[in-house]
């Protein structure tokens, strides 16, 4: 059984805030839920499925379902970090295809900027019952240095350079200049990235994503409901999920779980990487983008550095327009989880509602991909391929 064409994304909303000291996390969830339902042209009581992840306060979905006062018959609180919301799109499509719900609401929100969280640079202790904690925490793995080790190995194996990685940030900044909500709107150069301070070798400050408050929400619906609404139809064609870790000590940092989730999504969608007109690629760090582009099949393994260089990711300039909202690198990375905004910008592109300066002409086929957790320790990948119907 396939979910191809069995569900549509009809509501998408990105909170305009990037710093919200005057709001609660639950309130932000409610605001994005209301925004996405209004976008779809649906009412709160139409929702019969609810999806959230670890950013949602409370036990799994319970507190949020109660706070939002939803009457749902299907819930899913799968947490794979920043890729959770792509997993939720996949699971929502599966639930809708099986008749378990017809209007699925997915929300994300958080306030790491207001709370002064040292997201990337502070080791997190974690619950001692987590099996790896005692073998990792003493060594102070952080988000930044674990992604940095992937970059270091990639450079060693394939000759990738810091200049090539910098091109990813440069492309994101070219897009962000057109987004009035973007946290960083200044266009930067390769030299700017290389001149920014080293955070964890070989990653510079401008290789890292922003830390923002905010959130986003999606509404995934049954085809019959989709066709009754006034918004452009964004059909889900294929989804894929995967989890990658350390293989019991056979560590391999040269690829991500996108190498598994990507082919699953492409097979279900019945399309090839070369068919994709727009791609939202998870950009917690520049190296994240580079490895996923290879693993999703946009270029051969090891060729990512050459592929991203010279503006090849800039809309209207290069072969693979990516993250036209400015992505996590420049625009928004709400709650330190970038998967939601990846789907939202892909939906904008398919609707023709991206900023005119970055809109891909006649965009009919788009991909959104997320990596959550730590690329160098263990992470979850999810890929969603969508079509304008």
């Amino acid at each position: 059984m396939s979910i191809r064409g069995k569900a549509y994304i009809m509501g998408a909303y990105e909170h305009p805030t990037r710093k919200a000291p005057d709001k609660s996390v639950a309130q932000l969830h409610a605001e994005v839920a209301a925004g996405a339902l209004a976008d779809a042209g649906l009412a709160k009581d139409d929702v019969d499925g609810y999806f959230c992840a670890g950013d949602a306060p409370g036990m799994g979905p319970l507190s949020m379902v109660d706070y939002l006062n939803l009457r749902v018959r299907h819930v899913d609180a799968t947490d794979t970090g920043g890729s959770s919301y792509l997993v939720h799109v996949a699971h929502a499509a599966e639930a809708i295809a099986l008749g378990k719900c017809r209007v699925a609401l997915i929300t994300l929100a958080g306030r790491p900027r207001s709370e002064g969280m040292a997201t990337g640079t502070a080791p997190r202790a974690g619950n001692p019952a987590i099996p790896e904690i005692q073998f990792e925490y003493p060594y102070a793995p952080t988000v930044a240095n674990m992604y940095a080790m992937c970059a270091m190995r990639h450079m060693h194996e394939f000759g990738t350079t810091s200049e090539q990685l910098a091109w990813i940030k440069v492309a994101a900044s070219h897009h962000a200049q057109h987004n009035p909500h973007a946290l960083l709107r200044e266009v930067v150069t390769v030299a700017d990235v290389l001149a920014s301070p080293l955070i964890a070798d070989p990653l510079h400050r401008l290789d890292c994503c922003v830390i923002t408050d905010g959130g986003g929400a999606l509404v995934v619906v049954h085809p019959d409901i989709a066709k009754s609404l006034k918004r452009p139809l964004v059909k889900i064609l294929g989804v894929g999920e995967a989890v990658k870790g350390q293989f019991g000590g056979n560590v391999d940092l040269t690829f991500s779980a996108a190498a598994w989730s990507g082919p699953r999504a492409f097979a279900e969608a019945g399309v090839k990487p070369g068919d994709i007109q727009y791609a939202s690629i998870y950009d917690s760090f520049t190296i994240t983008v580079l490895m996923q582009i290879e693993d999703l099949g946009f270029c051969e393994k090891g060729q990512g550095g050459r592929f991203v260089a010279d503006g090849n990711l800039i809309s209207g300039v290069g072969k693979l327009p990516f993250n036209t909202d400015g992505g996590g690198l420049c625009n928004n990375h709400p709650a330190n989880r970038g998967g939601m905004t990846k789907v939202i910008e892909a939906v904008r592109q398919l609707r023709g509602e991206a900023h005119p300066a970055v809109q891909v002409k006649n965009c009919a086929l788009a991909l959104a991909h997320g990596t959550g957790g730590s690329l160098g320790l263990r992470h979850g990948s999810a890929t969603v391929i969508m079509e304008r119907a």
């Binding site: 640079t121 790896e132 301070p197 019991g248 560590v251």
Partner: protein, 131 residues
């Protein structure tokens, strides 16, 4: 940048499944857990082999040598430190720190040897330093 300073190491919290590993560390030994059925070594140690789910009944003492698979120097820390994956000749790659060295001279492929560093109130922790 010269010889690195040592960072304070938080105490690892052992449990019944991992007590042998940390007892080994107290005796200055890096123990690698190995399957009684399929014979494969793994790391970090589990009671059941992560390759075949049979009891990982044996522990072997690592020779204490290895080479750097990847590393990164964390510049944004109170005391900068080098995190690394080190490949052991016993057949596993482990997360660790590279200590007592010049961070600017670290390279992938460099030969390293085991050194234990005391943790704050817990067992010593296996680290590596360039040979």
């Amino acid at each position: 940048m010269g010889m690195s300073e040592r960072r304070k190491i938080p105490a690892p919290e052992a449990n019944p499944e991992t007590a042998t590993y940390w007892d080994g560390a107290r005796a200055g030994k890096l123990l690698i857990r190995t399957c009684g059925a399929c014979g494969k070594p793994h790391h970090y140690p589990r009671a059941l082999c992560p390759f075949c789910f049979q009891p990982a009944a044996r522990w072997i003492e690592a020779a204490g040598t290895g080479e750097i698979y990847s590393f990164s120097v964390m510049r944004r820390a109170e005391t900068p430190y080098a995190i690394a994956y080190v490949r052991l000749p016993e057949g596993v790659t482990m997360l660790t720190n590279l200590i007592d060295c010049d961070f600017d001279r670290l390279r992938i492929g460099m030969k390293v040897r085991l050194v234990f560093q005391d943790s704050a109130g817990g067992p010593p922790v296996a680290m590596f330093t360039p040979v």
